[in-house]
């Protein structure tokens, strides 16, 4: 997966992501966009899969956007052991849905995502509705290992996360980080739009054979949300 949070020259926060996973053909056929409504009003929106109640990609209008990138650590049995022994631990996608449903602000979402026990390690990428609000949370099962804020990540107006800790180099056989960073720099802060971000996440190998769907969204402009089922 690749997730990008960026701020345009007017201070608006944007969030783009590719979701990469095995069995793309199956997942592409069941990829859906869902508006979760109460009283006829959309409380939050997600792109997910039919039959999957959690969310790995979501937007709470005028509050925040969030995506999950996989952080492959440990062994599968550790994840299940946490699930069984720590009944406060949540599956990643259910935590994201909880946060979208109940966290009213970016700051609250970051706090809950950072501090809640999860069944697996992960990266939570969160964009806000106000200038400066963007962070990558490197999450361990218990607690957060690191919070990397957008304004700390050179050049200061965007942050890119794939599937590796940002403080180590990505492996040479799976380096999607540098192509994404280069594409963002080539686009420039003054040219951010749905179309230009779509072009960034369509850059090879950011877009690759495992990419199931792409999305561009902005909590401050929720109707701009655009999603695509990809056929790389």
């Amino acid at each position: 997966c690749t997730s990008i949070v960026c701020q345009d020259s007017k201070g608006q926060i944007w969030h783009a992501r590719n979701l990469d996973y095995s069995y793309g053909d199956i997942l592409r056929s069941i990829t859906i966009k869902v508006d979760f409504q109460k009283g006829g009003q959309t409380v939050y929106t997600g792109v997910t899969f039919a039959g999957y109640v959690g969310l790995l990609t979501g937007q709470r209008p005028q509050a925040f956007t969030v995506t999950v990138d996989e952080r492959d650590q440990g062994q599968w049995w550790m994840n299940l052991l946490i699930a069984i022994l720590d009944q406060t631990a949540k599956p990643l996608s259910l935590l994201v849905r909880d946060v979208l449903a109940t966290s009213p602000t970016y700051a609250d979402a970051v706090e809950v995502l950072s501090s809640t026990d999860t069944e697996a390690d992960a990266y939570f990428i969160v964009g806000g509705a106000k200038s400066g609000e963007g962070v990558v949370i490197t999450k361990s099962r218990i607690g957060a290992d690191d919070l990397w804020y957008m304004n700390e990540a050179a050049p200061g107006w965007f942050v890119v996360e794939t599937n590796y800790d940002h403080w180590v180099l990505p492996p040479t056989d799976d380096n999607r980080r540098d192509p994404a960073v280069n594409a963002m720099k080539a686009m420039g802060q003054g040219n951010i739009s749905v179309t230009s971000l779509y072009n960034v996440i369509s850059t090879h190998p950011v877009l690759n054979n495992k990419t199931v769907y792409s999305i561009v969204m902005s909590a401050a402009q929720p109707t701009a949300l655009a999603s695509w089922i990809r056929t790389p």
Partner: protein
């Protein structure tokens, strides 16, 4: 060619078990495909542990989501265990 995901509304004012039926019935192949994914992605040794979670679902997952999974299983005429497994697959395979 890229395509646009089908759009749905999930009404949170409904009981959890009633929320997803109109979505999943549109994907008739889902149950069969889900089996294929489960069988290949989840380590074989993990299956009994997931079955344990499935059999005591309310102890391990928030009731709202457990009921949504029950509703999905009913609407798809699928086993609850398979639906639970699909919903936990991302966490189980993140290692």
């Amino acid at each position: 060619q890229d395509s646009t995901p089908q759009a749905f509304t999930v009404n949170l004012d409904l009981a959890p078990a009633q929320r997803w039926g109109h979505v999943v019935i549109k994907f008739s192949k889902l149950a069969k495909d889900a089996h294929k994914v489960i069988a290949s992605l989840v380590p074989e040794d993990a299956i009994p542990l997931v079955e344990e979670i499935g059999s005591e679902l309310d102890s391990y997952l928030p009731l709202e989501y457990a009921d949504e999974m029950r509703g999905i299983a009913t609407a798809m005429n699928a086993s609850l265990g398979d639906i639970v497994l699909v919903n936990l697959a991302y966490d189980i395979t993140a290692f």
